[in-house]
Symmetry: C2
Subunit: 224 residues, 2 copies
């Protein structure tokens, strides 16, 4: 069966090639999405938006697995000594009120080995799936993600995760610039503030489609 | 004299180090900003927003030169055979209604050697300044920009140019992820649609400052 299909999006149709597509699940970690995680427990963030997308991502993961698609989970994370966090990143997170490595109820914020840094229980990878630790907001910096995708001849990426304007948009733009065809599933991405999510979507829809493709999980699942 | 200063921004103060700062002027090219360029002449885009920033960028360039700062001008551009444009980028620009290489009044859209691709007359580099051709939206892909900045020990970057949500934001996010301290001068950046500019600024201001710093040229020039 031909693996090429067209998926309807907010602007132009997205030409997917199912045999060369991977699903990215970005930063669904306890520190961002669990009631005891850093953002909710220590910062008092309202995590309802980021939790709302979990069942929809589960559905897309099930669908991807049924189609033999690779699923890749990223974690924004650092070594305990923060040697992989640039001074600029450390300052930005300090300014924002959540210094990397600060102790919370589930361990140090975004530190590898601590419970807060782990993926949420609801979205645990299978043995055959990939988990990638990324020290930057883009998943393509300081990781072997690009090499791994090239090695598998992956050319198309579906984007889900948190937060839309931060690590999802940063990773999308980078992937796109590297030549990967990216499709963002807007109902499977979220930010704490709905306005920040919307701004990121508007950026992706900018320039009449020269930046990227945005659709819903329903469009993807009904097309294939 | 100490080269370290604090500049007020829309959120947190930006700690500049004048001896290690470069000014980036992104894609002020005829095709984007000239009345005979591709976007205005062929697409009928209203270029008033992108032209409004020219005198302000000129003022910042004068100031940067007075302080012995490196000024770097980028051009979004491709070889005449488009061998440096990924198929994904070619499709996105086709979708958007402006295929790379389409003939306009000033030559082929964004093709090196043609007049439309050149920097506008008002913002020509000095002999000692850098001009960088970039095949992607981020200035750090397919270029030697990062290597050049590291070699000069440049750690801080001021961002100006067009369009805010496309090549400016893409370059900013990439620079930031690479560890460069980025400061975006919002009155020296523009998009054709004001809403697209605003969305990009909102993305940068997102997460309470964990993504980036945004200020005005006036704040920079009065601080130093």
């Amino acid at each position: 069966m031909n693996s090429h299909r067209l998926i309807q999006t907010r602007r132009h149709a997205f030409p997917i090639d199912l045999d060369h597509t991977a699903l990215l699940v970005i930063d669904l970690q306890n520190d961002f999405c669990h009631t005891d995680g850093f953002c909710s427990h220590r910062l008092g963030a309202d995590i309802s938006n980021v939790r709302n997308i979990i069942p929809r991502i589960q559905k897309v993961i099930d669908w991807a697995r049924q189609h033999g698609m690779l699923v890749i989970y990223t974690r924004e994370s650092h070594k305990p000594d923060l040697s992989d966090a640039t001074p600029c990143k450390q300052l930005r997170y300090e300014n924002a009120g959540y210094p990397l490595g600060t102790l919370g109820k589930m361990g140090r914020f975004l530190i590898q080995g601590d419970r807060g840094c782990e993926l949420i229980d609801e979205l645990q990878p299978l043995e055959t799936e990939l988990q990638i630790d990324k020290p930057a907001q883009s998943a393509f910096i300081g990781t072997n993600l690009e090499a791994g995708l090239r090695q598998r001849n992956t050319t198309h990426l579906l984007f889900t995760g948190v937060t839309t304007e931060c690590c999802v948009l940063g990773s999308y733009r980078h992937a796109s610039d590297l030549g990967f065809y990216g499709l963002l599933l807007e109902d499977c991405c979220a930010a704490y503030q709905i306005q920040e999510h919307q701004s990121a979507i508007e950026v992706l829809l900018g320039e009449n489609g020269a930046i990227g493709w945005v659709t819903t999980s329903e469009q993807v699942l009904t097309a294939i």
